[in-house]
């Protein structure tokens, strides 16, 4: 009898899973490039008062903002989770849209003459956790499709175990999403303020 694996993520076929993750990262990058390449009217974005904005951000570091951000992220997360059932089809679309938004936002921020370090500080600390969470759940969809394809080709898949692993990975990703919201509300504004002042 095969030895019971200690960690649930070991039960995923890692090479296949990382390939799915790589596909999603590729789609995210393409989305971001499309968003960045969109022609924006430069004169429509006056130079932003970064100091004023960072000061204002200090006032919204509270539970209410956290709940709002976490709730919105949860909606995207749930859509990604439903995306598993569609074999990653929804996840691909959603990741493209996320990439597109990041691209457009970055372009707008640079048009407003926002310094690059501040832009990175505004996006990266929470973005890393947030994207990691979304991408992991999204990759599960592509992974699921590839497992069905594998079964059609004659491989044996224990679907009960498979579903349990997916559920555990999704729960772990959701915890990471919680962390992302905490970073976004409590750490990012402080970091930006620190950089500005």
């Amino acid at each position: 009898m095969a030895q019971e694996q200690k960690y649930f993520w070991v039960m995923l076929e890692r090479k296949r899973f990382f390939l799915c993750l790589a596909v999603l990262v590729g789609v995210l990058v393409v989305g971001a490039l499309v968003g960045y390449a969109v022609p924006l009217p430069e004169d429509a974005f006056p130079r932003q008062d970064v100091l004023g904005a960072s000061t204002a951000m200090q006032d919204v570091r509270n539970v209410r903002t956290f709940r709002l951000i976490f709730f919105n992220n949860t909606r995207v997360f749930l859509l990604m989770a439903v995306g598993i059932l569609t074999g990653g089809l929804l996840s691909l679309g959603e990741v493209f849209v996320i990439g597109y938004m990041v691209g457009v936002f970055s372009r707008m921020a640079l048009a407003q003459a926002m310094p690059l370090p501040i832009l990175l500080a505004a996006l990266a600390p929470h973005g890393v956790f947030e994207l990691a969470s979304f991408m992991t759940v999204g990759a599960l969809g592509l992974y699921f499709a590839s497992r069905i394809y594998g079964q059609l080709k004659g491989h044996t898949v224990d679907w009960t175990k498979e579903i349990i692993v997916y559920a555990k990975v999704a729960i772990a990703s959701y915890v990471v999403l919680l962390l992302a919201a905490l970073v976004e509300v409590y750490l990012t504004p402080t970091l930006i303020h620190h950089l500005v002042t």
Binding site: V38, V60, N62, R64, L68, L90, F96
Partner: protein
């Protein structure tokens, strides 16, 4: 313990169904663009680029969402049959679900014709993007309520036809009548009585797409509630 039986696996080439799915996606994109095109012309030139690309990205996502009904439907049918110990193959379900969408191809075709030749948009030109978006929203609402194109009625007809087609294909191609008859010995005896009088296979074939459409409606309703009411009920106002 119930012994599962295998539904027949057809010897079909899936390539033509893959093309049909691609065509469905493109048709969805084309329909949305055909309906939006006349509004996009009113957007001030400097904003038109970003508005067009963003609209296309949104339409692309929306189209993917609608195409996702195919794998979702397959998963739904598979689970339904799994519960009654019938094992259907992906190869048999995929053509059934794709063919069931035929009424929607026709509806989308009609919508493109309407958007290109009959849709009349007349807005007051303005450079104020905020005001323009409000005017577009109001005009779209007016178009819907005026009934110039009976979208909801035609949509309902397409949905009912699609459900009927799906039920028929499930019944015929999976040979549900004989599969159900084979499984009856393992089910409660009253189901045998029902089967002798009413053809249980046909009832199950009809119930599957009906419950799927019901689930989609419930999901739509719930997501609508999530998007609006829950925020208010949790007293989550956007941060100032």
């Amino acid at each position: 313990m119930a012994v599962p039986i295998q539904a027949p696996v057809p010897d079909v080439k899936l390539a033509r169904y893959n093309i049909a799915v691609m065509a469905y996606f493109l048709l969805l994109m084309a329909t949305q663009y055909a309906l939006a095109y006349k509004y996009l012309l009113y957007i001030p030139e400097k904003w038109r680029g970003v508005a067009t690309v963003s609209t296309l990205v949104f339409f692309g996502f929306q189209s993917l969402f609608m195409v996702a009904v195919i794998p979702l439907g397959m998963a739904f049918i598979f689970s339904w049959l799994y519960l009654i110990d019938i094992r259907a193959s992906v190869k048999s379900l995929y053509p059934i679900v794709v063919t069931s969408l035929t009424p929607f191809y026709l509806l989308l075709g009609l919508m493109i014709v309407y958007g290109v030749f009959f849709l009349q948009v007349s807005l007051e030109p303005t450079d104020d993007v905020q005001r323009l978006s409000e005017m577009i929203r109001a005009d779209v609402n007016r178009q819907i309520t005026s009934g110039a194109f009976p979208l909801s009625r035609l949509g309902s007809v397409a949905a009912v036809t699609s459900v009927g087609l799906c039920a028929y294909l499930l019944y015929r191609r999976l040979n549900l009548r004989s599969l159900v008859a084979e499984q009856l010995g393992q089910w409660p005896s009253w189901l045998g009585v029902v089967h002798r009088r009413l053809n249980l296979g046909a009832i199950i074939a009809a119930l599957i797409p009906l419950t799927f459409v019901g689930s989609l409606l419930v999901f739509q309703k719930l997501s609508g509630l999530l998007a609006t009411n829950v925020l208010e009920k949790l007293n989550l106002q956007p941060p100032r």
